[in-house]
Amino acid sequence: MNRLIVAVLCGLLFGAGMVVSDMINPARVLAFLDVTGAWDPSLAFVMGGALIPSAIAYLIRRRMETPVAAETFHVPESRTIDTPLVGGAVLFGLGWGLVGLCPGPALAALTTGAWQAFVFVGALVAGMALFRLTLDRNA
């Protein structure tokens, strides 16, 4: 199987998942994160549902030498808990909690034509560029 086709196919499934699950709606995400308020727990099923096939795949992977359509596995092996990991997670959590959009749903929301999604994704890419120009420069 061609790995370019795999990328498109997996993208299609992922994008459909954003819409079907309602992760695409920031109001739903913020209601899920509002654990002390009018908590909407429905999005816990997204994570639960996603972990089932994903975990099965990672179990199957242990028995495979190489992926089906590519030469090698590119899965991070590091186990070090360091400042970048935690600092980055803190910043990401802050931004996610302020707006209710994380990268996958933000990209999916572009297809609704909502101007807010375009502003957010533009700023998201700018934030990635800022990282590339600062902390990532010598790495």
């Binding site: 990328a7 498109v8 993208g11 992922f14 994008g15 459909a16 819409v19 079907v20 309602d22 695409i24 709606n25 920031p26 109001a27 209601a31 509002d34 308020g37 429905s42 099923f45 997204v46 994570m47 549902g49 972990l51 096939p53 994903s54 795949a57 190489t66 992926p67 089906v68 359509a69 899965v75 935690v86 600092g87 980055g88 997670a89 803190v90 910043l91 990401f92 931004g95 996610w96 909690g97 302020l98 707006v99 209710g100 959009l101 994380c102 996958g104 999916a108 572009l110 609704t112 909502a114 807010q116 502003v119 957010f120 700023a123 890419v125 700018a126 934030g127 990635m128 800022l130 990282f131």
Partner: protein, 144 residues
Amino acid sequence: MPEPISFVWPLAGGLLVGLSAGLYLLLNGRVAGISGLTAAATGLSKGAPRTLDLLFIAGLLGGAALASALIRRPEVQITSDIWLLVLGGLIVGFGTRWGSGCTSGHGVCGLARLSPRSIVATGVFMAVAALTVFVTRHLLGGLA
């Protein structure tokens, strides 16, 4: 406030996301992490095969558009003003790169393989996000 939905939708959507992540691993040998894919597709990361990343994102946009047309019409309810969107986008972009992942890479792929880094990252970003909502909604009285 969004209308309540049946748990079947989030569960079905989650299964689609997990299927995507699982197939991407077994077929292409890669982590389906959207922040990493976005950085690679826009030329903001080191030496990755950008064509694959661009195709994944093109597929993601196509999948979202198709599902919106054929399966369920999504509502995107955003109350944030433009400055909050800019600020939020900037720190999500910077933070996901610094922390090497977001909800998909750490949350779905990392937890599935019990990566200690991803377990810590997911715990931290979920806790900080919930705390941020608590502060903005219940202490500051509704920023978002």
